[in-house]
């Protein structure tokens, strides 16, 4: 199989390990290769950013971790449990330790339920409806996300703003005290000022509940601010994995550099790096041979079409899958 390498995995310390994850969808037009063999892991208390543009497979990967639906192939190990091998009931129990937050906070809440019912739902699902401490736990979770339980208790989702709904989604997540939370574009539907509130809240919740986060987003500035490590994806493949500082200072993969150079910085004096890419994403129905970025890459040559690059270490914890990686920093000093 055309794997992109697993040298970057740290087998002894991970709470979550994903190996050779493949997600394919059958459609009338053919097989969509959404994720084609990515591997990553997550340490306790760590935040891993999965970043890329639409169609890179980051959301498909996030859903496959939750087994929603299970991946086409590959393994997802949470703690010591291999999720892809579990039967339905065992998976249901194991999943209480891994929760998910979605992009649109309003549509991810049942409009007919009251907020206290929404947050109590996971307790009902996993522990039954007669827990004596239910109300107390719901109150605590709501307070932890900065909502006043007395005010929102009997409200319904439509009475709250988008930011408040996202707080409810986070409360619903942490009420089970999970190990891992998968956040799929949790702030992209929110205004900048509210986005900052939610990002701060995620950092607080992570600290307080000892969470490990997989943070999926298209916005590189947001990802840089919240992640310890970042994995850049393109058309179902991993391009580069690195500690966030290193990735942003010395992006080695041409695609990472393009992404970073494209960020519109809210500063008229900031240097604007040239973007050396044209064209658009090829179809995931029929991805290019070799390196999938070669059709848009300014450095591509015959080798890139013939041979798929494998993740190789270029710095401490910094891995890149490219035949012609960059060595110099993105912006020259001074």
């Amino acid at each position: 199989m055309a794997g992109t390498g697993k040298g970057h995995l740290r087998p002894d310390e991970a709470v979550l390990t994903v190996e050779d994850l493949v997600v394919e969808y059958e459609t009338a037009a053919g097989t969509v290769h959404a994720v084609s063999g990515i591997s990553f892991d997550l340490r306790a208390g760590e935040t891993l950013g999965l970043v890329g543009e639409s169609g890179c497979g980051k959301s498909s990967a996030g859903k496959a971790l939750m087994q929603l639906p299970p991946p086409t192939s590959g393994t997802v190990t949470l703690g010591l449990v291999e999720l892809t091998e579990l039967d339905e009931e065992k998976l249901r129990l194991a999943r209480s330790k891994m929760q998910m937050i979605f992009q649109d906070p309003i549509s991810s809440l049942n409009p007919r339920r009251r907020i206290n019912q929404v947050v109590a739902e996971p307790i009902h699902v996993w522990e039954g409806k007669r827990r004596p401490d239910e109300a107390e736990r719901v109150r605590e979770a709501l307070s932890a996300v900065g909502l006043d339980p007395d005010v929102v208790w009997d409200r319904r989702p439509h009475e709250l703003s988008g930011g408040q709904c996202q707080r409810v989604c986070i409360a619903r997540t942490i009420v089970m005290e999970p190990q891992v939370v998968i956040c799929d574009e949790p702030v992209s539907a929110l205004d900048v000022s509210v986005q900052a509130q939610i990002l701060n809240l995620l950092e607080d919740a992570k600290e307080r509940y000892g969470l490990s986060l997989v943070f999926i987003a298209h916005d590189l500035a947001v990802v840089k601010n919240i992640s310890d490590r970042v994995m850049v994806m393109y058309l179902g493949k991993a391009c580069e994995v690195a500690p966030s500082d290193a990735l942003y200072e010395r992006p080695a993969h041409p695609y990472t550099r393009v992404l970073l150079a494209s960020i519109p910085e809210p500063d008229p004096d900031a240097p604007e790096p040239a973007v050396e890419v044209s064209g658009e994403l090829p179809s995931p129905l029929n991805p290019p041979s070799g390196c999938r970025f070669r059709t848009r890459c300014p450095r591509a040559d015959a080798r890139c079409a013939a041979e798929e690059p494998v993740l190789a270490e270029v710095g401490p914890g910094h891995w890149v899958a490219c035949h012609h990686p960059f060595e110099e920093p993105l912006l020259a000093e001074g």
Partner: protein
């Protein structure tokens, strides 16, 4: 910045107010916003959801005339003509030939059952009077102008056959078809990926430079206009709170809302786990009357003076080009560190 000469005003809007009469009460979506756009100039209107930025430009164009519940007052002068008060029927000769518009979602702005070429028929044949054959040739030229490969083949494709970025290029080509004097781009890149956003913004900058068209870019993202606009208007709760050339807005930010908005943006230069300066609370409910400064309930610097009368746009440090409606502007802060003067 390239301030065009005085008197070269293309669009002048005075004290525009738009109210929607809804079942839940009157919503004051825009409450008294003025704007000047000179020929060839690019103006960025920046604000969050509900700030009234989109309703404002729609009211300027007269598109709100299509909404029976909308009431618009104020004066709109465009290229020597008064647009305010005209009915949608009378404005048809303005929409397209005089003012072009592109929207956020390029999928819904194109008709899904019409081929790309058919979209060009109306502007080119009706407004410019071209023959069917000439219109087709011209449409292909326009598509080529906005960087669409194989333009002739595209004419016979449907919108769903193109990617999001290509569809937005088609929308830009359509807006440019009659060579309007003003292009209004409402969140033109919000639905697009960053690399495509960069391409579309570069394209907009290039066509405005080539054609000498004036542009209004509406965005929630200060980064989109930081390098591309001449002037910036920051809106909050239906009001313009700060307006200035782009440099002063970023370098000598006056209004506390602008300051807070800039501070809340996550920067790439931040080290991981930087605590962001979030703005507490949410924007006000526009169905209720707002007393004083609309931002006061969320502002760290607000006092009783802010909650009294609505602050007016006044020059910052005597600079007539830089206006802010703030009782305690950031420019009054005593500069910390560098005692190099300048700010009084």
């Amino acid at each position: 910045m390239s301030p065009a000469t005085e008197g070269d005003v293309l669009l002048q809007v005075d004290d525009l107010r738009t109210t929607f009469h809804t079942a839940g009460g009157d919503v004051a979506a825009v409450s008294g916003v003025s704007l000047t756009v000179r020929r060839g100039q690019t103006v960025g209107i920046v604000g969050e959801s509900g700030s009234g930025k989109s309703v404002f430009v729609r009211s300027v164009m007269g598109l709100t005339g299509l909404t029976p519940t909308a009431e618009v007052t104020g004066r709109v002068m465009f290229d020597g003509r008064e647009l305010s008060g005209l009915r949608p029927k009378e404005l048809r000769s303005v929409w397209g030939p005089e003012i072009g518009m592109i929207f956020q979602d390029p999928m819904t702005s194109l008709n899904p059952v019409k081929k790309i070429g058919a979209h060009f028929a109306q502007p080119l044949r009706q407004h410019l009077g071209l023959s069917r054959k000439d219109a087709r040739t011209r449409a292909a030229e326009l598509l080529a102008e906005v960087g669409i490969p194989e333009p002739v083949r595209r004419l016979d494709q449907y919108p769903h056959e193109l990617s999001g970025g290509m569809r937005q290029r088609v929308c830009i080509a359509l807006a440019l078809a009659c060579r309007p004097k003003l292009l209004i781009a409402d969140e033109p890149t919000t639905a697009l990926d960053v690399t495509v956003q960069r391409q579309i913004l570069d394209l907009l900058a290039q066509v405005t430079a080539d054609t000498g068209m004036a542009t209004i870019i509406i965005t929630h993202d200060l980064g989109v206009v930081a390098r591309r606009a001449d002037d910036i208007v920051v809106m909050y709760a239906g009001r313009a709170v700060e307006t200035a050339p782009v440099g002063p807005v970023f370098r000598r930010t006056a209004h506390r809302y602008t300051e807070a908005l800039l501070a809340s943006v996550p920067r790439v230069a931040n080290p991981p786990h930087t605590r962001l300066a979030a703005i507490p609370g949410t924007p006000p409910d526009l169905r209720r009357a707002i007393h004083g400064c609309a931002f006061a309930p969320r502002c760290a610097h607000a006092d009783d003076a802010c909650r009294g009368e609505r602050p007016l746009l006044v020059p910052v440090d005597g600079d007539e080009g830089h206006l802010a409606a703030c009782v305690h502007p950031a420019t009054d802060d005593v500069p910390v560190g560098t005692p190099t003067g300048g700010a009084s």
